[in-house]
């Protein structure tokens, strides 16, 4: 069954035309709305690379039917920067060496943004717990955790 619906993504309304009802939010973002920043590493909710926010809640977009997000506000990695300037989290990831292949990076950026919203000065264990749903195969998480500490300091310094 195909239909048409509208999604509110990163503050803009996107019409989704002639879509199969079974498409996940991940697929619709990537293939229909030209927002491929959200990544597709497992498509079964295990790796966190497709993390987005739906009404402010961090979710795996592969586990959400796109049509069920009608009426919700969806936020993706593409909305993390402001007027082309990297967010504190994004800048820290680049500077601290938290990016290697980068496939898990957009999902991690979303998870860390969510963590620092909830807990602006997280402990080490809070950091590890918060990103434990985001698999990374390159970094061993060392530089990722270093970047999160830097981003937390940066955000509390600037009140971001």
């Amino acid at each position: 069954m195909n239909l048409r619906y509208a999604l509110l993504v990163n503050g803009a309304v996107h019409e989704v035309e002639d879509a199969w009802l079974g498409e996940s939010l991940l697929n619709v973002l990537r293939d229909r709305l030209d927002l491929p920043g959200t990544k597709n590493a497992c498509e079964e909710g295990e790796c966190g690379s497709c993390s987005v926010k739906v009404d402010g809640t961090l979710v795996c977009s592969c586990l959400v039917l796109a049509a069920s997000a009608v009426g919700s506000a969806v936020e993706t990695v593409e909305a993390q920067e402001h007027d082309g300037a990297l967010s504190a989290v994004q800048a820290a990831f680049v500077d601290e060496g938290a990016v290697q292949c980068g496939f898990c990076t957009p999902g991690l950026v979303m998870a860390v943004d969510d963590l620092l919203d909830r807990s602006p000065t997280p402990t080490d264990l809070e950091i590890r717990e918060a990103i434990s749903g985001n698999l990374c195969r390159c970094t061993g998480y060392g530089r990722v955790i270093a970047a999160i500490r830097v981003a937390a300091r940066q955000r509390s310094d600037t009140g971001d």
């Binding site: 199969w20 079974g22 498409e23 697929n27 990537r30 293939d31 927002l35 491929p36 920043g37 959200t38 990544k39 597709n40 590493a41 497992c42 498509e43 079964e44 295990e46 790796c47 993706t76 990695v77 593409e78 993390q80 920067e81 990297l86 989290v89 994004q90 800048a91 990831f93 680049v94 500077d95 601290e96 060496g97 990016v99 290697q100 292949c101 980068g102 496939f103 990076t105 957009p106 950026v109 264990l125 950091i127 590890r128 717990e129 990103i131 434990s132 749903g133 985001n134 698999l135 990374c136 195969r137 390159c138 970094t139 061993g140 998480y141 060392g142 530089r143 990722v144 955790i145 270093a146």
Partner: protein
């Protein structure tokens, strides 16, 4: 390490030896970096592979009729549709593009479908009717040696023999053991993906995530029956590799579908497909006997190695070569008898994975060194120091080490580093974590130590080279190389080299494609040396032209080779390798022996790096490689039954999360510039995987008193 990895930021000059941030970091954090799965064309179709659910079967018939009737399907292709060579392979063309008669492993491709929607392609693939006559799979490597041939090329990919020194020499102290390593998966995050576009001249433009563009191109062209110049490969963004992208995956299938339909075809594997769609680390069974004198000097090592190569050859021969050459570890062993075999079975095909053969034997030989230390009543670190290789020493292959070999240095630096504090109060510090299962009173701490080494670059006489060009125009340097950036940071190094040689910071990296000569594979810890060397040489050639008075547009292309190596002779003797890199790890674990739960608390390491070109990237390689070794030690195994992969998902094949990851502390990066290496730098990617696994295993042995001769070490191995 926090001091040495201090980021320099994007505005600082990209000097060699500083933590220059990677230039692709910004698009990657913005979500704007195009990986293979992000490629898109207006009229693109979606490809899907039809795979055998069986590990061993004869194909009675394939009926594509039902798939062709699915609305939205544009093509369904089988073996008869392959216009060129029917088989391909990295080393030897033994794997069919599509199986037509025999199925040799679960997941083998039988057909491919192109459709207008991924879901349509999935349904059409399911509608292809294949009639299988099931066979009894051969899944035991020992049995495969004498079993009926599973393939016209036979069941033994390679036999290795090393006879070194005096076969009659013996030592007073003898230890023996049988060791096993399970099948590890590279488990990169970005699935196999790419897009094939038919060109007007009847050729193909293939954008694909790979490690080695030119090897791919040659195999694809042969299978398509096209001349090389009609097949052009371009690197699509790579979401990690670790060896698994050295072989072809969807390349030929996507290209055939595109040629057949006249439309671009996108393909991206699902995670389940990825687990069966690429090669894995070879499972191994290894029988060792060490003999030493009373003073703790090694006299002799005997080893019998049996590696399971799975259904097709891939790089099995070279993997066994490495496993054998480095079978005795980074120690001076005057006499050795090594016999190795790697065989064909109906298990999933195995090939390259970070560490490449030296991981398996490294696990076994380090366990042996600990046994020997116990038999001699010597400290395990002291035993290793007494036997550590040094420059001028002979390897098992008779090759004399002419470069650097700071083995004692990495051992001392690692062993002397302060131990971590005792476990904290938080439940997440305990084995089992938030499961709240471990009673703190039962938890025992163990410390283990290991050393590892392997070769850098390709060995045994392989013509190993890299081509690069450097163009200077209007103050902008454009570098072109077919070196695959897979996450390791070659793109950063290019900026650093251009700055160092030409003093120019406005650097463009041209598209990575087959329009230039090969850069070889991004594997074997070779690209810093090989393609780094090619870029350095090309920049220096431009600099000479400037010094000679040239102005305006200057372009130079250079092909760089490392010193030639030789094949091994019948006794496994010869100067087969160029250079070696060494690493040591000390693991600290907390174990609940009753429940079999392990928490890896701390991994301290020291590594021989030649020279640090980018501290941040070196530490990134060490931390990542160390954790992959920890994964092999306590978590990661492709579970097989009758050739079937039982756990092809991230739900069941567990890789370490941030909560599983220990603190990795770099005690020292030993900088002894390697002669012949550009800037004196050694590759750093693989050594961390060599010593981390055996160090963790040793630490768990220390905590439990168990022998634990197999990795991964499972809870039941500890508590039952």
């Amino acid at each position: 390490m926090t001091e040495t990895v201090a980021p320099v930021g994007t505005s600082a000059p990209p000097r060699i030896g500083t933590s220059v941030p990677r230039p692709d970091g910004v698009p990657k954090v913005r979500g704007r970096f195009a990986f293979g799965s992000d490629l898109w064309a207006d009229d693109a179709l979606f490809g899907r592979t039809v795979r055998s659910p069986h590990a061993a079967a004869r194909i009675r018939s394939v009926d594509i009729g039902p798939a062709l009737t699915v609305p939205g399907v544009y093509a369904v292709l089988v073996a008869d549709d392959v216009p060129g060579e029917s088989h391909y392979g990295l080393d030897r063309a033994d794997q069919p593009v599509f199986a037509s008669e025999v199925i040799r492993y679960q997941g083998e491709a039988v057909a491919a479908v192109a459709a207008d929607h991924p879901e349509t392609a999935r349904r059409a693939a399911a509608a292809v009717e294949v009639d299988y006559d099931l066979l009894e799979p051969v899944v035991d490597a020992e049995a495969a040696v004498s079993a009926e041939p599973l393939h016209p090329f036979g069941n033994v990919f390679r036999e290795m023999v090393i006879r070194h020194g005096d076969g009659q020499a013996h030592g007073e102290v003898v230890v023996e053991g049988i060791y096993e390593v399970g099948m590890q998966d590279q488990a990169f995050m970005g699935p196999e993906s790419g897009m094939a576009i038919p060109t007007e001249d009847g050729g193909i433009d293939l954008f694909v995530s790979t490690q080695w563009l030119h090897s791919d191109r040659d195999q694809v062209a042969a299978c398509l029956g096209l001349p090389l110049e009609k097949v052009r490969l371009t690197l699509a963004g790579v979401g990690g590799a670790f060896g698994a992208r050295e072989d072809l995956s969807l390349h030929v299938h996507a290209s055939l579908l595109a040629l057949h339909t006249g439309r671009p075809v996108r393909m991206s594997y699902t995670r389940v497909e990825s687990f069966v769609g690429h090669v894995h680390r070879h499972p191994a069974r290894m029988h060792y006997r060490h003999e030493a004198d009373r003073a703790g000097r090694l006299v002799r090592v005997d080893a019998r190695l049996l590696f399971d190569g799975g259904a097709y050859q891939s790089s099995s021969a070279a993997v066994l070569g490495n496993a054998s050459c480095f079978a005795a570890g980074p120690y001076l062993v005057p006499n050795a008898v090594i016999d190795g075999k790697v065989v064909r079975t109906n298990n999933p095909p195995c090939g390259a994975m970070r560490g490449f053969g030296a991981v398996q034997t490294g696990f076994a030989v380090e366990a042996q060194m600990d046994k020997l230390a116990a038999a001699l009543d010597l400290d395990p670190v002291e035993l290793r120091l007494r036997n550590a290789l040094k420059p001028g020493d002979e390897l098992l292959t008779g090759q004399v080490i002419t470069g650097t070999a700071p083995v004692a240095e990495v051992i001392r630096a690692c062993a002397d580093h302060p131990l971590p504090p005792p476990a904290g109060e938080d439940v997440l510090d305990r084995p089992g974590g938030a499961g709240l299962t471990a009673d703190p009173g039962d938890v025992r701490r163990g410390v283990g130590f290991a050393v590892g080494f392997k070769n850098l670059m390709f060995s045994e006489g392989f013509d190993d080279y890299s081509t690069a060009s450097c163009r200077l125009e209007n103050g902008v340097v454009t570098v072109k190389s077919a070196c695959a950036e897979v996450g390791q940071g070659f793109v950063t190094l290019v900026r650093q080299i251009v700055h160092e040689v030409l003093g120019v910071d406005d650097v463009v990296l041209a598209p990575v494609d087959t329009d230039i000569g090969s850069a070889g594979s991004t594997s074997a810890s070779r690209q810093t040396w090989m393609s780094g060397g090619a870029v350095q040489a090309a920049c220096e050639a431009v600099k000479r032209r400037i010094d000679e008075g040239a102005t305006g547009f200057i372009e130079e292309e250079v092909t760089f080779r490392h010193a030639a190596t030789a094949p091994l002779d019948g006794d496994g003797q010869g100067d087969a390798h160029v250079s070696f890199a060494f690493a040591a790890h000390r693991a600290v674990v907390d174990v609940d022996p009753e429940l079999g739960l392990v928490r890896v608390v701390d991994m301290t390491t020291a590594q021989d790096v030649g020279r640090v070109l980018n501290p941040l990237q070196v530490v990134g390689q060490i931390e990542g490689g160390t954790l992959q070794g920890v994964g092999l030690a306590v978590m990661e195994e492709m579970k097989l039954s009758g050739g079937q992969v039982l756990n092809p998902t991230f739900t069941d094949y567990l890789i370490p999360t941030a909560l599983d990851a220990p603190e990795v502390r770099v005690a020292a990066l030993i900088e002894e510039p390697e002669p012949g290496a550009p800037f004196g730098a050694k590759g750093v990617g693989e050594p961390p995987t060599l010593s981390s696994t055996p160090a963790v295993a040793a630490a768990i042995r220390a905590a439990t008193g168990r022998e634990l001769p197999r990795v991964p070490i499972r809870p039941e191995d500890i508590c039952l």
